[in-house]
């Protein structure tokens, strides 16, 4: 499956717009991603190992908070998007 990496986090994945991983759940997909790109870990998880509140995860077009969170099953053709908050506009 593809994990889409947003612009602010691309610097931690060698600037790739997405990363391909093999996984059965969202949690497995994220751990495969952070195993390959360890610098990403602290931007996605807090010190207690929980996903940060301002990082939203979407499986295809659905927020995983309204599915089964990190336990949501995933399939090969799925797209997981990391959508952090950005604030720019006036500047």
């Amino acid at each position: 499956m593809k994990i889409f990496i947003p612009t602010p986090l691309r610097q931690y994945v060698e600037r790739h717009p997405y990363v391909e991983v093999q996984a059965g759940t969202v949690a497995e997909a994220l751990s495969a991603l952070t195993a390959r790109h360890p610098d990403l870990r602290k931007h996605l998880y807090n010190n207690e190992g929980k996903l940060r509140a301002f990082v939203n995860l979407y499986l295809n077009d659905e927020d995983i908070r309204y599915l089964q969170n990190e336990q949501t099953p995933v399939q090969d053709g799925d797209a997981l998007s990391i959508v952090p908050s950005i604030a720019g506009g006036g500047c």
Partner: protein
Amino acid sequence: MRSTIEEKPAQAATLNNDEILRYSRHLIMPEVGMEGQLKLKQAKVLCVGAGGLGSPLALYLAAAGVGTLGIVDFDVVDFTNLQRQIIHTTENVGRKKLDSAAETLHAINNNVEIRKFETRLTSANAMELFRDFDVIVDGTDNFPTRYLVNDACVLSGKPNVYGSIFRFEGQASVFATERGPCYRCLYPEPPPPGLVPSCAEGGVLGILPGLVGVIQATETIKLILGSGEPLVGRLLLIDALAMRFRELKLRKNPDCPVCGQHPTVKELIDYNQFCGIRGEESAAATMADMTPEELKRRLDAGEDLFVLDVREPHEYQICNLGGYLIPLNDLPKRISELDSSREIVVHCKMGGRSAKAVEFLNKSGFHKVHNLAGGINAWAERVDPKLPKY
């Protein structure tokens, strides 16, 4: 779905012959027509910010015939704005953005009433400012103001037409309609300060606010007309580099602290505190800051100072002080290249990244570290005018 804007009797306004000619391409479309054009004429839209997003959206709203456009801004046009803030022209550098914007808008369409609010939007003035307007368009550039705009929209029952940009990526949605989600349903909490770089530090592709601002203008006009499918409950993601538009579903969170079933936020709060931002004075006064003048004096005196540049290599190419380059993100793995016994002066472009570098170095056992206040831009401004600012 029903527009959230209060229906007003359309017969109160009319179009004169000049206006009929001006808006003829609207009038001949059934989706707008005379009825829609009169709704536009009676509509009152407040643009928060006359910058990157505010520029294109205000231009199009004025051209489309929105009757009253309010603009909230307290900034002055500078040269770095011109790459994207197309409402302002080179000759307006140094003038108030409000005056520059109002002139351009009037030149496009003198029928529009422009209301200028020269102020920062605050918890003390937001409800009062929003009162006279039907739609609020968020073209701000920081998290505290975005949460403030959202909460004030929810509390006053006005739709929040949202757009946000970073580098070549944008987001757009319509928040705070009666049944739709709000910004807090999407992001209950802001990121800690400093984790997400600003446009001034991270850069932004000049056309991007054009793309996103015009989407905001489109949504504003649809809300006024009450037609089409508004971007309610959907987050549009725009990647200009891949030229890919994606759409994500947004749900109204029943537990949302401001628009949920049992709201805990019933009035505007201190948004700087909510976003974990220290007062400006204390932020500026912390750290072992060194002014550009002091650095110059000490370098000229031949003192042993190690100048560390924590910007990116492509920024180093624009201008540099001959410092040793380690980009901020590489600092943890390259810290062994630094000598903790020497006095180090860290700089970046404006002082934000270097402050983080100083904090990191302090934690890592470096005790003789200074932050060059205002970065290389302040150096160019005050010490070496030949050096370009960017």
